[in-house]
């Protein structure tokens, strides 16, 4: 990796952390809020540009499409999350989402930087990945994951803005357990059954707990208008993410048919993408149905976020097999 590339990637990482703190700070100093939000957004935009350049630079240096291992996938994910947030913020002005988005990007940078050096290095491709289909198939998937993350984060904000504080905490616990399971799975030798249990039962308990406590409303914190806004942002993110996921899955099928003569083989990662797809199809139908409360829909987006996390990172780190794994590096 060249120095320039390293500098660009670090700039992106540092600006995500910085914008996170400025966003958080903007809530503490109400008087300065508009200015601080501007600064935070600007810093984020600088990070976004730096990351775009870093990714392009990586591609040029390696002389291949820069999306071939987990580290590069994480860079793309952070890129898509920041980009999508900047886009949504422009049309909706949803600044509470700002610190969540920059925190997500920052956490993914940290996760990426902890990966072993072999992942940072630009390595040549294994023969199975040498195909122009790769650049058609993978980027839509990663971008859809980012959109689903933002949708889930908006779900958190919606629950909070509608006064469902207890539910929010319950979901945070679920997400924290899931993230811990993934981190342990990536960096330690913890038993895979323990990790899988932690992820699955943690998610189940957290989301069910949140569903049960939807009735507990803290009226003082409720702000109907903002709740509606976040509900809409979540839906918007999903209406963008869902086509991307669809395109990613289908082009994967076309690639597989081209290379192996079968477009679907129930490979674990394939199946997992289908699970995510079906879940968001369910969300879209709940939405068209117009009978579901916004809070319940927010819970669905949070379930979706957990499933997306499982599809994107869980498979590798929680010991599911299959052709699509990024490889073991413990």
């Amino acid at each position: 990796m060249s120095d320039l590339q390293l500098a660009l990637t670090n700039t992106a990482g540092i600006s995500s952390v910085m914008s996170f703190w400025v966003f958080v700070g903007s809530n503490a100093f109400k008087r300065w809020q508009p200015l601080m939000i501007k600064i935070a957004t600007f810093v984020m935009a600088v990070g976004f540009i730096a990351l775009s350049m870093a990714i392009v630079g990586r591609g040029i240096e390696a002389n291949r499409f820069p999306l071939a291992n987990l580290y590069e996938a994480l860079l793309w994910f952070a890129w898509a999350t920041t980009g999508a947030y900047l886009f949504l913020a422009k049309s909706y002005g949803v600044h509470q989402l700002g610190w969540l988005a920059s925190m997500t990007a920052a956490l993914f940078f940290i996760y990426g930087s902890w990966l072993p050096q072999s992942q940072h290095e630009i390595s040549p491709l294994v023969p199975a990945l040498v195909s122009y289909w790769r650049q058609i198939h993978v980027p839509p998937l990663i971008c859809s994951y980012a959109m689903f993350f933002l949708a889930g984060l908006s779900g958190f904000c919606q629950l909070w803005a509608s006064g469902r504080i207890l539910s929010v905490w319950s979901c945070i616990a679920a997400l924290a357990l899931a993230a811990t399971a993934i981190a342990l799975g990536t960096f330690t030798d913890t038993n895979t059954f323990v990790l899988q249990g932690m992820f699955v039962f943690g998610s189940l308990a957290g989301v069910l707990g949140a569903a049960k406590s939807l009735k507990k409303i803290d009226e003082k914190k409720a702000d109907q208008k903002r709740a509606e806004l976040f509900d809409e942002v979540a839906y918007r993110a999903i209406t963008i993410g869902f086509p991307l996921l669809t395109i990613g899955i289908i082009t994967g099928g076309l690639w597989a048919n081209h290379a192996w003569g079968t477009y679907w083989s129930w490979d674990p990662k394939e199946s997992m993408a289908l699970v995510t797809w079906l879940s968001y199809a369910a969300y879209i139908h709940l939405r068209v149905h117009r009978e579901c409360k916004a809070e319940s829909l927010s819970l669905v987006t949070i379930c979706g976020l957990l499933l997306t996390l499982l599809t994107f990172l869980g498979f590798n780190s929680l010991g599911f097999g299959g052709l699509h794994s990024y490889g073991k590096f413990k």
Partner: protein, 486 residues
């Protein structure tokens, strides 16, 4: 009703048949309901999730399941059908229900809505517009006609299709987005048809074929409900070779194939390689792996073939000679010399004894070993999927449909009324709209339009003040008011 006509007088027929009818209707309505759809989608998602978590026998074999979970737990999974969940009755029933529900919903609720696309929009009155979730009222220093045409202009710039009628306006944007459910569902139905046809008529398989042998389709895999027919032609491998990088890593595999019909006549020849299959009679044959199978040797006058096994970049055959002594033959490819190693219990590592070029012989004391050839084996994957064009079309529809679903459909309405402000032209313009998706962005849009109209008029007022004489009120009527359509 027709069922009971003959049996009972008119007056008494009401109860039982309408019950039937009602029950029938409610079953159909239930099958097409979004609630059932969501339930089925969630159950399918859960099933597939379990299938993703548990290694599937059909992919990795039962042994892998036992290795991963231990004898006892694996047995539980196997008995419950979880380790082969995509072929379980449960999964089939689920897919069946999903299909029925999809068909019911599509014909009951999704496709009928297409008619709405052809209907021109209705016009709303002021009172109705004011009740819309998003509405605005502006007092403007121009006549109502001017105000309307200005609004129409602004809307058209934002790609609205605008309809004008006297002092009323209706506009819509993104109407094609309403095609989304129909297009997606047509795609899904076609996909289900495609997959069904494939499972009834398609087949696939893999066969390693030694140089000179033929591929036949006898061992191919197909579904239980298969009603297709296997080809009666076969494919002979006439030549097969590996191309290497300078480093010795494989770069490409090639096989020269000849299709031979049932009479034994060659009908097609082609060289295939990875990503470059042969297609004949609807069957695709892919190059999928490659290796060296055996080495043919002659010991004095005795011919023998030894099986080769891959050892890193090389292949090796082992010939035990008793008392721990082994002869090892190592081949790199079809043309390179064969290397012969010996290993006895006394030697730390095998020792290179000789290198023999093809069709040469070497003396090893009392035995003369002749190296005849190595026989390569080419891994051929084949499949026949008659429904592929339908499936690919379905993919296209699904992708298009979900893309369309992200287009918000927006409608606006406006009505203007002339006001009399000290004899000067003025009007009240009320406009509003609805958007199911992206509401707040839409609200912002409408606010922006309102601000732009006010600003434009303020500028105009400035300039008209300067040359007031030119302002001829007669000209107002010239602004076209016929219904415009983009």
């Amino acid at each position: 009703m027709t069922l009971t006509k003959t049996e009972k007088p008119e007056t008494q027929t009401t109860a039982p048949p309408s019950d039937w009818q009602a029950a029938y209707n409610s079953v159909i309505r239930f099958l097409g309901s979004v609630r059932l759809a969501v339930t089925l989608l969630s159950l399918t998602a859960l099933t597939v999730l379990i299938g993703a978590w548990c290694p599937q026998e059909s992919q990795v074999g039962q042994q892998k399941v036992i290795d991963q979970f231990g004898e006892q737990f694996a047995q539980v999974l196997i008995n419950a059908g979880i380790s082969d969940i995509f072929h379980s009755v449960w999964f089939l029933v689920l897919i069946g229900f999903l299909t029925v529900s999809l068909v019911a919903a599509s014909f009951q609720r999704v496709f009928p809505k297409l008619i709405l696309l052809r209907k021109p929009p209705i016009f709303l009155k002021k009172a109705a517009i004011e009740k819309l979730p998003i509405s605005q009222s502006l007092i403007l220093p121009v006549s109502k006609n001017q105000a309307m045409s200005l609004l129409a202009q602004k809307l058209k710039k934002k790609f609205y299709k605008v309809y004008l009628q006297e002092s009323q306006l209706a506009g819509e944007q993104g109407k094609f987005g309403r095609l989304a459910p129909s297009v997606t569902h047509v795609g899904l139905l076609s996909l289900l048809c495609g997959v069904t046809i494939t499972s009834w008529t398609g087949f696939s398989g893999f066969q390693p074929v030694r140089l000179g042998d033929s591929l036949s389709f006898a061992d191919s895999e197909h579904s239980k409900l298969w009603i297709g027919k296997l080809p009666n032609w076969r494919v002979k491998v006439e030549k097969t070779e590996r191309e290497d990088y300078p480093s010795g890593d494989p770069k490409q595999w090639y096989s020269d194939l000849v299709v031979i019909d049932s009479q034994g006549k060659p009908v097609k020849r082609q060289q295939i390689s990875v990503n470059n299959p042969l297609t004949y009679d609807g069957v695709d044959i892919y190059q999928s792996s490659w290796g060296l199978d055996t080495v043919a040797l002659t010991f004095n006058d005795h011919k023998q073939e030894l099986e080769l096994r891959p050892m890193g970049k090389l292949y090796a055959a082992f010939l035990p000679l008793g008392s721990g002594t082994i002869l090892i033959f190592s081949a790199r490819n079809q043309t390179a010399p064969l290397r012969v190693f010996g290993k006895t219990p006394n030697w730390q590592a095998p020792k290179l004894l000789a290198e023999i070029s093809p069709n040469q012989a070497k003396d090893f004391g009392s035995v003369k070993i002749q190296f005849n050839k190595v026989v390569p084996v080419t891994g051929l994957q084949y499949k026949c999927d008659p429904a592929l064009p339908l499936t690919y079309t379905a993919f296209g529809f699904i992708m298009l449909g979900v893309l369309l679903a992200s287009v918000p459909y927006r409608q606006v309405w406006a009505q203007a009324q002339d006001l009399d402000v000290n004899g000067k032209a003025a009007c009240q313009l009320v406009f509003g709209g609805t958007s199911y998706k992206a509401k707040q962005a839409f609200e912002k849009d409408l606010q922006k339009i309102a601000a732009e109209i006010e600003e434009a008029l303020a500028q105009e007022a400035q300039s008209t003040k300067i040359d007031d004489q030119k302002n001829d009120p007669e000209n107002e009527g010239n602004i076209a008011l016929c219904p415009t359509s983009n």
